[in-house]
Symmetry: C2
Subunit: 360 residues, 2 copies
């Protein structure tokens, strides 16, 4: 098969030009006689790769020197413990917003280390909306306020950055990182598992305001201590070098596309196109409050669930892959991250149109 349109929620499709470059450099990176994955992480060559990736990410996301940028091992799930271990401090409690499955996982893990105040939840609505911020019951003593800007499974996205005058704002941006411009200066910590908009899985990028470093609890594993990782330029141990390199290639590609501003425009266009189609075709439905529909993950259902298997089979035959919804919710989901070309969305809509005509 030639390259398919892969709508997987993560690990997710990567820009074809990035994969081509990785392929071409696999056995010999720029005349060094070795693959990037064979290089010492302390070699001049790899340090250059690593520093360039950080510089490009800072430029793309607009990260000032007030923040450290960390390239850690693991993913959002490991950060679910890392965050409370590093930030709960003496206060011992934190505020969390519950807007879906990933919020819940973050809450469950943080609850093992301290008091978690769920300041707002949209569980009653089946996580189809985001409670108005005026109703949030924030606490006076919270060490931080955690939320999930984009719920990958539910397809629910904050279109705004919450106000958090009292506590640093902490965001799991795994599935929305670099998908549109975001004012990083509003955040205490941003973290993002790489396998959606950044690169391969096993890498997690953390952007942390430097005044939040150095507060880790005594029992924090050294490899989870933000201060240690920052002090060592993310090389306290051997980092995930090849993933870091691939992330750097993705950052270069993003810059070539015009950065996150241009990417945001493309992503909005892709998402609108798909949602508009779903809303105007009776055969399909999306349950999410239109104000908070995700630009990245578009869940939808068919008018008849019994046709799901046939829908997926036909999609696969056309090279439209991984459209099944998450096993916990069913239905369909199209993840349309940065690397999904607009042509992929067009091809999906064409197929959905035809399927609805024939089987609707």
């Amino acid at each position: 098969m030639s390259r398919a349109y892969n709508f997987c929620a993560g690990p997710a499709t990567l820009p074809e030009s990035v994969l081509r470059q990785a392929r071409d450099e696999m056995l010999d990176w720029r005349g060094t006689g070795m693959s990037v994955m064979e290089m010492s992480h302390r070699s001049d060559e790899f340090v250059q790769i690593a520093e360039t990736a950080e510089k490009d990410l800072r430029e793309l996301a607009g990260v000032s020197d007030d923040y450290a940028v960390l390239f850690m091992q693991g993913g959002a799930s490991s950060q679910f413990s890392t965050i409370p271990l590093n930030l709960l401090g003496e206060k011992g409690s934190a505020d969390y917003v519950n807007t879906g499955i990933w919020s819940k996982k973050a809450i469950a893990e943080a609850s093992r280390y301290g008091k978690v105040n769920v300041v707002a939840s949209s569980e009653d609505s089946g996580f189809t909306t985001i409670p108005d911020q005026s109703s949030w019951q924030t606490s006076a003593d919270a060490a931080y306020l955690h939320y999930t800007p984009n719920e990958t499974i539910g397809g629910l996205e904050f279109g705004f950055i919450p106000d958090s005058p009292g506590a640093p704002l902490v965001a799991d941006m795994s599935s929305s990182m670099l998908s549109r411009p975001v004012d990083v200066s509003r955040f205490g910590v941003i973290y993002a598992g790489a396998q959606k908009n950044i690169g391969p899985s096993g890498l997690v990028v953390v952007i942390i305001r430097k005044d939040l470093l150095g507060k880790a609890r005594q029992e924090t594993p050294t490899m989870m201590n933000y201060q240690v990782i920052a002090d060592n330029g993310s090389m306290y141990n051997t980092p995930a070098t090849y993933s870091w390199y691939l992330a750097g290639l993705v950052f270069k590609w993003l810059k070539e596309q015009g950065g996150v501003k241009a990417m945001g425009e493309i992503n909005l266009r892709k998402a609108r196109k798909l949602y508009d189609f779903i809303d105007t075709n009776e055969f399909y439905a999306n349950p999410i409050d239109p104000r908070f529909r995700s630009w990245m993950n578009v869940p939808f259902t068919l008018a008849d669930d019994a046709l799901n298997g046939e829908f997926l089979k036909g999609a696969n035959a056309r090279g439209l892959l991984n459209l099944a919804g998450h096993r916990s919710v069913g239905g369909m989901r199209a993840s349309i991250y940065n690397a999904m070309p607009e042509a992929g969305v067009d091809a999906l809509i064409d197929y959905m149109t035809e399927f609805a005509k024939e089987r609707g």
Copy 2:
């Protein structure tokens, strides 16, 4: 440059055929229309890749069903906390053998979680030997006995498996894993960062006797809980899929070479050849007790340290790379893991011979 001989201690050289296959499959894994790094970790294709890798590793290392095999994120440094968090249990203390820099790091991290008894140390000798086991002061109440079969920096290797009748034996095999036959049934836990003999960095393989699961302390981060990782087939979160795939390619390559028995014979021949040369050429020296010289990492010094720079420059010019010793010890070090061909060792000896003739 064509492919160099890369003597880096880790990340380290990989078999060229593995890199070629990874290159050829980069954009389209076997007609799926996507790269392995773009696949859902729960897809049939990736599950097949993952399961085959585990099966091949079990076959290569002789791992019985009494053991779980885990593919975790991180490396040995993250295991330094994971081990005590999971195994200290009610006993709260463990025995450690101190034979070098990596032992010391493991000891330092474990000491943060409980009582560490250093049962033997070769620090007085500058870590050039291993104390006779009859002198070890093991404790009656140790939850486990930890040692480092091969010290990557010092170039010191246990040629034997210590007896540990009272406590499960735990080994950091990062730099010796799969380099020769080892009786896994003698161990409670074996762990190995991938970036020497297994694959790219960011992945750590853990082989754990199943009766040692389920003993994690309350504060253990979920992503570090062996029981959770085992119960979820190393997919509690999104694993480092691409690294896992590459590890699988390395395992296939090892099987083609004849497995660890054949590899052990080759490694012994490579190591003997290099040590014999060093011992018979007055210009070079290796300080390690000949009974405990590493088959994987061969440190050596020149008769005149002032020639180090020139030696390295000449080596680089011939495509013999990364021979500088670790920054903490200086001198030279040739890491000759499984993937270093015997021809690489021959080329190194040729160069060393010539250099000694000209400058010695």
